[in-house]
Amino acid sequence: MSDLKAKIKALIIETLDLEDVSIEDIQDDEALFVDGLGLDSIDALELGLAIKKTFNIKIDANSEETKKHFSSINSLSEFIETNQ
């Protein structure tokens, strides 16, 4: 697991208070929202804010692209790497 991916997973767990979930429980290609991890729209906003603060990147809340970036750990880490 890359350092960035582990960092994102830890950020998700801490920001969203996911008790009972550990870094190992989150798969890189698993859906973060609805199915997979079961996060919802409020989580998306909270996570967006945390990523913005932690990695100092701008996120456009209304774009279709953003939705894709937030679909899994893989897509999120790719998004962060290219925008940092």
Binding site: L18, I42, D43, E46, L49, K52
Partner: protein, 260 residues
């Protein structure tokens, strides 16, 4: 009675308490400003094992206290109850954090914001328990608990419901506000099931005198510094204490009689 003016009550009603559940912080701590308060640390808060982890995770300490009592008191009820929630300050720790972030020009937490309304706990409780009955949330300064009791009585009196759930919660003030404290600062929640049935539980007789009652009541003054809900609970749970309870400069007079 010649020459004696008898105070006429401005409000007068009876209501029965079927069940009561409370939680209260007991260890005194000194907060950052040197004020004494009784508050729960994170590990002492109710675990709420009956809820799913995904439901639990967004609950603030304030919500956990209220939710714990609400779930406990309704445990053996086989139908959803109409509810009255009350809090003098609401989730002021959360509000205070958001105001702090706003003042610094920072983004506020969407999760905190989404649950920052006064009836957030009522909303969460009714979603978790799939309760579609009506719900009211009350705030009335130092008089909040008694006004919630009045609201509960109105529900029973005017509606078709036999029982109503009353849930009150408050916490020690967050530090930016502690200088304004006008009562003992204690994290607490109290939940009651109130009923129309005069043959159940304990019967309360409640009178309100807007200008203060003329009764030279010998009510326990050690209770008067407590938040109203706790003062009520101390009096109510002490079975030896048969004398009436007066609150808010004797504006309220409460008596009770045991049924069982």
């Amino acid at each position: 009675m010649l020459g004696v003016r008898k105070a006429v009550s401005d409000m007068d009603f009876c209501i029965n308490i079927k069940k009561i559940v409370t939680i209260e912080a007991v260890n005194p701590v000194i907060n950052l400003d040197g004020h004494q308060e009784k508050s729960f640390n994170k590990a002492e808060l109710p675990k709420l094992d009956d809820l799913k982890p995904m439901q639990r995770r967004r609950l603030s300490p304030f919500a956990k206290l209220a939710m714990h009592c609400a779930l406990e008191v309704t445990k053996n009820e086989n139908q959803s109850l109409v509810s009255v929630f009350s809090s003098r300050h609401g989730d002021l720790h959360k509000t205070s954090t958001m105001l702090h972030d706003l003042a610094l020009g920072e983004d506020i937490s969407p999760t905190a914001f989404s649950l920052s309304v006064h009836n957030a706990v009522a909303g969460l409780f009714t979603i978790f328990t799939q309760n579609t009955q009506a719900s009211t949330t009350v705030s009335a300064g130092k008089d909040t608990f008694m006004m919630a009791l009045v609201e509960a009585y109105i529900r029973l009196k005017t509606g078709k419901h036999e029982q109503v759930l009353l849930v009150h919660s408050d916490q020690s003030l967050p530090s930016p506000y502690s200088q304004y404290a006008d009562e003992l600062q204690v994290d607490h929640a109290v939940a009651l099931i109130l009923t129309k049935d005069s043959n159940v539980g304990q019967r309360l007789s409640v009178k309100k005198y807007n200008n203060g009652s003329t009764a030279t009541s010998t009510s326990d003054t050690s209770l008067s510094e407590l938040p109203q809900a706790l003062s009520f609970h101390r009096w109510f749970s002490d079975i030896k204490k048969t004398q009436e309870l007066t609150m808010l400069d004797k504006q309220w007079k409460i008596n009770r009689s045991n049924i069982e």
